[in-house]
């Protein structure tokens, strides 16, 4: 049970990263990015190309993956999102569905449906803490996520441009008045959001142990989305905490319900919880009250 907690926390932190990307893009463009997880998955293939096939060190492959993700994010922002500043948000969402479909199809076309494997970056024995085993991969994942999440938080809070990004979500017109271009803000949210997706995919790959279309993308997207909603789409810290919650909850539920008759019970329960929370508190657990107006009620 406690072992599951460790797994849950690590998985949850990864969901948290995914949720951070979703919320960042939502704050910037007011749209749910359906391709959020698929960007990361597609870039896993790039990592595979460079590391496994190209025999480069793991970090080089990871770096290439992240750079590719940023490129995808920036291209999409430039050629689709920026053209649609006045378009209804549902249409922009359809655009992200298009991106998702494109990436998914590209994966199948170039790599086929058979799984690929990334060489494990870290091997060796882990540590035992109070009877719970923590693997080196888990430790490194924790560390990486802490650095990234912390770094993002620091950037947004401490730098001028970062503050501008946060302000743009509150009043985009006023941000122009202080001299910040909204196009730069948009590029930032999409570039960083895409990069977060790639990092999350890289970190979850060892858990799933293989790269194949859909296998990584779906749990990442579902987990990240549930996390973002629980935390309230407007709150970045909320998204991360939501991720931890989702990770722990789904692992524990799977642990408890394993072997029972009801199929798919963990996702069922998860979504029941999400739907329930949304109905009672539409702005999520940590979202701000003025988002309530946006959500309906």
């Amino acid at each position: 049970m406690l072992q599951a907690l460790v797994v849950g926390l690590v998985t949850g932190a990864i969901y948290g990263l995914m949720a951070l990307g979703l919320v960042l893009i939502y704050k910037g463009s007011r749209v749910l990015n359906f391709a959020q997880a698929e960007i990361g998955t597609a870039c896993l293939y790039v990592a595979w190309l460079v590391s496994a096939k190209g025999h480069q060190p793991y970090l080089v492959g990871a770096g290439a993956a992240i750079l590719t993700a940023v490129a995808i994010g920036l291209l999409f922002e430039r050629f689709v999102v920026r053209r649609m500043t006045d378009a209804p948000r549902l249409s922009v969402a359809v655009g992200t569905i298009g991106l998702f479909t494109f990436l998914f199809a590209a994966e199948i076309y170039f790599f086929g449906p058979s799984p690929r494997y990334l060489p494990a970056p870290i091997t060796g024995l882990g540590v035992q803490v109070a009877g719970i085993y923590v693997s080196p991969t888990q430790m490194v994942s924790f560390a990486v996520i802490a650095v990234i999440a912390g770094g993002l938080a620091a950037f947004l809070r401490l730098t001028d441009f970062g503050l501008g990004v946060v302000a743009a979500a509150q009043d985009a017109a006023a941000v122009r008045l202080v001299g910040i271009r909204l196009s730069r803000v948009s590029m930032f949210t999409w570039g960083v959001g895409a990069a977060l997706s790639a990092v999350a995919a890289l970190l979850i790959e060892p858990t799933i142990s293989l790269i194949a279309p859909g296998v990584i993308g779906e749990p990442l997207f579902v987990g990240g989305l549930a996390a973002a909603l629980l935390g309230g789409l407007s709150s970045l810290p909320g998204a991360f905490i939501g991720g931890l919650l989702v990770g722990v909850l789904s692992t524990e539920i799977q642990f408890v319900a394993s072997g029972r008759a009801i199929p798919g019970v963990s996702s069922l329960v998860l979504f029941a919880i999400v739907a329930g929370v949304l109905l009672v508190r539409p702005q999520g657990l940590l979202g701000s009250a003025n988002l309530r107006a946006e959500s309906g009620s």
């Binding site: 050629f79 649609m84 969402a93 569905i97 590209a106 076309y109 979504f271 109905l279």
Partner: protein
Amino acid sequence: MSAGPVSVSRRSSGTEVAPASPATPVPQSSEPVRRRPLLTPRRSNILLLLAAAILLPIVTAQAMPLAFTPTDSLVLAEAVAFAIAALALNMLTGYAGQISLGHAALLGVGAFASGLVTSKAGLPMWIGLPAAAVATGLIALVIGFPALRLRGLYLAMVTIAFGFAMYDSILRLDVFTGGSAGVELPRRIWHDTQFSDQSVMLAVALVALLAVWLLDANITRTRLGRAFRAIRENEAVAQAYGVDVARYKLVAFVLSGALAGLAGALWGHAVGFVNSESFPFDISLALIIMVVVGGLGSRVGAVIAGLAFSLFPVVLHGIAWLAGLDIMVGALLLMYTVSRHPGGFAEVIGEARERRRERRSARVQTPDDDAITIPALPRVTSLRTSTAVDPLAPVLEVENVTVRFGGLVAVDSASLRVPRGKIVGLIGPNGAGKTTLFNTISGLIRPTTGTVRLLGQDVSGLPAHRRAELGLGRTFQQIGLAKDQTMLDNLLLAQHLEAGYSTGRALAYTRGVAAAEEVMEARAREAITALGFDGREQTPVKRFSHGQQRIIEMGCALLTDPELLMLDEPSAGMAPGAVENLAVRLNDLRDSLGRTMLLIEHNVPLVLDVCDYIYVLNFGQVLAEGTPDEILAHPDVIGAYLGEAAG
């Protein structure tokens, strides 16, 4: 059936005219004057369907084999099923504005329902299909209820959750699905008789498509469709015209669900078999793409997009070198199209049509607001049986109403009364709480304490649309019209309560419904003429200038023959000349027709000219009240709020 007395008299502009003659019952127009047509819309629809049901199977059975293989017929049948599904989603998202990303699950419910009915219970397909529709319509209520509290992205999330829950869990339960073995859908006609001809299946699908199309048409040309579109654009405005938003949202979900279930069942019978993998989330996404690319709210667009999406991959498969790339190409095309034309096919066609119309008719002049004068406001005499209301009793009584939002007190123990046949004004600086008080009176906000009494009845707990039923009419600061709809549609929407027919009758487009629509359209056109907008009734409201929109809005509000007309800053955005004209019209409404009005205004000279009694609000409290002379002399009010008039 009687339509009640209807007379809209037309006034020549500018002159004072005697009040319209007392309402006298007018004989039903259609009887003595002209023969009722033999072929009403409803009859012709039914005939059309019958003819199609009989002829199409024969025709397709003969024609299809000439050029297509049975597999082609099957593929077409599946495409038609998806076109129906697209129509179903369009009804919910395009008309009523409720986003659903869980429709794949509804398709699944329909397929499984029909499957269980036809294979497990051994009943024919023509029982299975309606059963599927009914079952799915009811299940759709599961996402319909959350829609009452959630909107936009949050509603979409709940529908995604619903879809996933169904896909991952419920639809995998043995009792429904026989495990992953799935359920068969035989094309049973009677007992053991089945048909296996694919082209007949195609015919069945086409007949169903025709039926759904006709149903959709009946929705859009009745108050049902207008209510949906009003809900999509602005729920508060819809409520002001008496639309029970909650009820209509649920109706939209049930209808959309039923049609989606039908589509799923048709698809299932075409393929012959469904299991839990048949309706993954991707299909929900595909449906949304179809509806958006087709153009939200466009019947034609939805069907074309539905057919195109289903057939596109098939067509591309034929082109050898494109194999494998087809989806990628399609996705790139999708991203390109949606960024260039967010409104889909329908937007492209609509804009082309508007450009043609503008070239043909006189250019829509954007006139100086100065030039806008209202020749007359529609003078609708009473449609309703008069009441025993005491002419001396106040129409509206507000007693000690307090409205608190969290820690903020927006309205603090305000009281006012509006006597019959008077114009009462509510003035005060921005942020004084006038609009909050207005919204509390009209029913959009519940007071924390205090009562609101309309015609002597306590309406404090009633929702806005019920108050509209009792005779409350209002305008809005941001102009309470469905701006994407035409002027004529808005005037018809305003008559929502007058229409009175039920949803069921609307779907069937009965004779009574047709007659009611005719009468309403006549009234609307007379109003348009009275307002001086002849010939512009098909123009979307958003194309008119701000001042013109205000006039249209007032026309709509008057068309409901309200007991109390509430006007929220009617002069805002008007040029001085138009404001003077407005003052004349408002005075005339009161003097000649005895209309009772409550208005919020910033234009103090207008208020002084028109109002019989004034309340001054500040910081949520009534600071002063009295006749215009008394207010002018009031020390607190002068310096603070009459800056402009003091000059």
